[in-house]
Amino acid sequence: MKKSVEELKTISTQIRRDILRMVCKANSGHPGGSMSSTDILTALYFNEMNQNPATWTREGKGQDMFILSAGHMTPVYYSTLARAGYFPVEELGTFRQMGSRLQGHPSIRKALPGIFQASGSLGQGLSAAAGAALGKKLDKDNNFVYCLCGDGESEEGQIWEAGMFAVFHKLDNLIAMTDWNGKQIDGPVAEVAGEGDLAEKWTAWGWNVITAEGHDFESILKAFELAKAGKGSGKPTMILFKTEMGHGVDFMAGTHKWHGSVPKPEQLEDALKQLGETPLGDF
């Protein structure tokens, strides 16, 4: 059941609240990138993907699959999965705690529904997504495989190996996305490694490249529509979502400083006030 743009806005606001409350409760975690990719994941799980928590299996047969390559963005990932119905919302309160299914980085060993693959060591998820897309082709399963990477993560050489592989094997059922927020732990990407214009690079690599506004649901949904229209072209699609790290809270927005830092109690209060409450309610 696809959600309207208004509904998506409400869900993403609640997910941002979840992210902040999760990392504050755990006193650790990665809020910055989680908040820059919140709208992308919200649109993906509540409007775009052919997925169903009730019939989910790790093999993903007959459904779309999603792999989070930038594995540190578990706050947004877990909140999205819980809000989509994969596991109880209350479980978000166990994030990063001993014995929790909500490990610091995605794990398949705790049997958390919705998780297809472990990730966190950067640069590897796109390869797994490409392999899964090839598996779906061999099975004549017409569903898509989605994968979210970070722009900092794209400094890893393996991302570009996977990029070559996906083109060579004509994986037009693979839709990769980059959370292009321009920031990484040590500072702005341009000042840390200077990876340049990702659009030109992915185009040169032979991908179908779409650039979209990652905090504008109309733009996000349009990008997905264009990406799916690429099926049959023989080319994989890369959607470069222009985003802002820490989006939604003024003192967190646009800086790398919240990549892996946790707000203080008074900052959390301020942030939650800025976001506002939603009818969905906190966990």
Partner: protein
């Protein structure tokens, strides 16, 4: 003493090629990936029969490991093939994250292992791969001894559900095991019974140990030879049973000391049955260019060195 006959020298990697084809014929979920080493890994027959299920990855091993994990997610049984160094050391993190921790049903086909890779020299001769793979939780580590056993081990690996490291070599070596003997993962194979010393061997050193046992017999020493084709999980029961009988042990492997079969066996004895052990392995060194047999002799991993080690072990009883 049971005599083994070399039915004609063959490389163990060709055994893998035969096993892969049979596994592919038996199960359509089997797929094969390589990083530009189709010929070296003897995947040609599989690729010719199942072109859609043969996946060329180019010289990009890291992506190959991840792509195999992704294929496994969708229910495939991927075999990834390259040189031992390039499917272990080069991609250790990928194997750890995507295959081992990720618990994907990927089979790592590791060819040209050890010093018998020969002339290419130390860059390609990994003597550390068993240690790396043994260290990963739940990883099954198999190191068959000849062509026939490698073919059977490949078939067994395809049937087993979970990550497997399957190690084999480049040179042509004696082929002496029963071609129809099914491979049982985790089971040691007593090749020869003896009462004075146990020769524990894996891979190419099994034949060398059988030769050593013959030489020792001529000197009145009865050696028991055990083929540890599965290094992990280790058949501890079979090793302890033999050691209780013979009272001393030699462990021979084409691998360095650190983290190898020798240390696995020594750890077992330290816990369960203190026993004198002599080690025949590559010690703590890198290899160099040379012919396989010259290298095995120079690095002390051949039949002559195993027989010497056996005498030392017997003297320590």
């Amino acid at each position: 003493m049971k005599k083994y006959t070399d039915t004609g020298k063959k490389d163990t990697r060709s055994g893998f090629g035969v096993g892969l084809l049979k596994a592919g014929q038996a199960d359509s979920r089997v797929v094969a990936l390589t990083a530009d080493l189709k010929g070296s890994l003897k995947m040609d027959a599989f690729a010719a029969e199942f072109p859609e299920r043969f996946i060329q990855c180019g010289i990009a091993e890291a992506n190959m490991v991840g792509a195999a994990a992704g294929l496994a997610l969708t229910g495939k049984i991927p075999f990834i093939g390259s040189f031992a160094e390039f499917v272990t050391g080069r991609v250790y993190d990928q194997v750890r994250q995507e295959v081992s921790y990720g618990k994907t049903n990927v089979k790592i086909a590791s060819s040209h292992a050890g010093i018998t890779l020969g002339e290419d020299g130390a860059t390609h001769q990994t003597m550390e791969d068993i240690a790396l793979m043994r260290a990963l939780p739940e990883m099954v580590v198999i190191n068959p001894c000849d062509f026939n056993q490698t073919a059977q081990a490949t078939i067994a690996a395809a049937k087993y559900v979970g990550p497997v490291y399957l190690r084999f070599g480049r040179p042509s070596v004696p082929n002496f095991t029963d071609p129809d003997e099914p491979f049982v993962i985790g089971k040691a194979i007593v090749m020869n019974e003896g009462s004075d010393v146990t020769l524990i061997a894996t891979g190419h050193t099994v034949w060398e140990s059988l030769q050593a046992a013959e030489a020792l017999e001529a000197e009145g020493i009865k050696a028991e030879v055990i083929d540890i084709a599965t290094i992990k999980p280790l058949d501890e029961e079979a090793i302890l049973k033999s050691a209780k009988k013979t009272g001393c042990v030699v462990v021979a492997e084409e691998h360095n000391m650190a983290g190898g079969l020798g240390e696995a066996v020594a750890g077992l004895f330290a816990r369960a049955l203190p026993t004198p052990v002599e080690f025949v392995n590559g010690a703590d060194k890198f290899g160099q260019s040379g012919t396989p047999s010259a290298l095995m002799a120079a690095y002390g991993i051949d039949a002559a060195h195993i027989a010497e080690a056996a005498k030392k072990a017997v003297a320590r009883k």
